[in-house]
């Protein structure tokens, strides 16, 4: 029940941080010397990309914990994390496309990093689709955990192969090395946004996991008591 009390605080924190980050990003930080105003997409793009990868790791971690320790909570956490991760992954790709158009002249480039992000999105989709398709909750938990782990084992292999592939195929790869001397406000804005993404994820995951716990433990005594109290 700690989750219930924690979630609104995290949501509030997320809103405040996001507002601060956006303000820093869009109004305080100076325009980039090369890219002009367009670069400001970075304040959403980079935190989303970070978050999407981190959430996958977290998901795999909870899956491993669940399979080894046989704890139901960790499966539920992994399943609650997946949609948020997929959302960030999608946001990163979408903002990346919006950013790519004016800077590279194309919405999409078959660059290693982009391709990897796309494959990560597919891994998320696979996880979500599999857990949704299985009606029996025990099997859904475990099968999802297994595919999350398999994905996590494969991510380095995929990363390596895609890197290899893109160096082979692209003469002049569209690499964008981030400016080494990044303005302090830019960095501050980005970090604030990253924190906002964190707080948002925690809030959403907690919110999502609460009803899942209630549904799953509906035969347990404490849930029955809780429901009885609600009714009174």
């Amino acid at each position: 029940m700690l989750a219930g009390r924690l979630a609104p605080w995290c949501a509030g924190l997320a809103a405040v941080l996001a507002a601060l980050g956006l303000w820093l990003g869009f109004f305080v930080a100076p325009a980039d010397a090369v890219q002009g105003e367009v670069y400001r997409v970075i304040f959403i793009h980079v935190p989303a990309a970070w978050m999407s990868m981190f959430i996958y790791l977290l998901m795999a971690f909870w899956s491993a914990v669940g399979l080894v320790m046989n704890t139901r909570m960790s499966f539920l956490l992994a399943r609650a994390l997946a949609p948020t991760g997929a959302m960030f992954c999608f946001v990163a790709l979408w903002t990346g496309a919006l950013w790519g158009r004016p800077t590279w002249g194309a919405y999409w480039a078959w660059d290693a990093r982009l391709t990897l992000q796309l494959l990560l999105l597919f891994l998320y989709f696979g996880f979500i689709a599999l857990t949704r398709a299985i009606a029996e909750p025990n099997r859904a938990d475990r099968a999802g955990a297994l595919i999350a782990l398999v994905g996590a084992v494969n991510v380095p292999v995929i990363y390596f192969s895609v890197q290899w592939w893109s160096t082979l195929h692209q003469g002049a790869s569209v690499s964008f090395s981030r400016a080494p001397s990044m303005a302090a406000t830019m960095l501050a804005g980005m970090l604030t946004m990253a924190l906002a993404a964190w707080a948002y994820s925690v809030a959403v995951v907690l919110w999502r996991v609460r009803p899942m716990i209630l549904v799953r433990e509906r035969h347990a005594d404490w849930v029955v008591r809780l429901l009885a109290e609600e009714r009174v």
Binding site: A135, E136, N138, H219, V224
Partner: protein, 216 residues
């Protein structure tokens, strides 16, 4: 000795049974009864270790079957409601494969003899696709005539699709197994008149539904 302690089983949104405890000693048999959907198959699958119980545990010779899975499987013979035979293979091929998988050391002659016992002696070389439903069922049951070394038999609806003579034959085999100190646990939804030669206990799953209202 097989023991089930406080088993509970949930399928989908429904609590099938809970607080189910039973024990089965050498020479005993147990018939699991109950209407369709009462959880007979689920119970047998829990006992065989194919499914995970919502609560409680199954013990074999005093220890949980999860902790000694290989020993337990070495003592178990399970027949599901599907006959576990392939329609493209002959009865003999099916039986030899089943014995190899179960780790039963039997030779070709023993398999042929077992098939003759269940009345398939004349159809050894036909793919099962060419045989009737009842004959396929017999081909699946033939392994019971080679599995005396397995102490615990768990059979799901063994009498379906069998004619009167085959039912008698099967009942005699079950009785023989119990007389030799084995244990038999089987499920039937209809009241089959089976003479096992001794008092067969009956477990009615309807008795364990208890507080079903809480399940929804």
């Amino acid at each position: 000795m097989l023991e089930c302690c406080d088993l509970a089983c949930v399928r989908g949104d429904r609590l099938l049974f809970q607080r189910l405890s039973l024990r089965l000693g050498p020479g005993e048999s147990l018939r699991v009864a109950g209407p369709n959907g009462a959880g007979k198959t689920s119970l047998l699958r829990l006992v065989a270790g194919l499914a995970r119980a919502e609560a409680g545990e199954v013990r074999w010779q005093g220890a949980s079957i999860r902790q000694q899975a290989e020993d337990f499987r070495g003592a178990l013979l399970y027949l599901g409601h599907a006959a576990a035979v392939s329609a493209q293979l002959t009865a003999l091929e099916n039986l030899r494969f089943a014995c190899a998988v179960a780790g039963l050391a039997v030779d070709q002659d023993a398999c042929v003899a077992a098939l003759a016992r269940v009345g398939l002696g004349g159809a050894l070389d036909l793919p099962l696709a060419a045989l009737s439903q009842g004959q396929r069922r017999r081909a699946g049951l033939a392994r019971l005539f080679l599995a005396a070394s397995r102490t615990l038999w768990v059979l799901d609806e063994p009498f379906t699709a069998l004619d009167a003579e085959a039912v008698r034959l099967l009942a005699a085999q079950l009785a023989k197994h119990c007389a030799a100190g084995g244990m038999v646990m089987f499920a039937t939804h209809q009241d089959v008149d089976v003479d096992l030669g001794h008092a067969c206990r009956v477990l009615d799953l309807g008795d364990f539904v208890g507080e079903r209202g809480r399940a929804c």
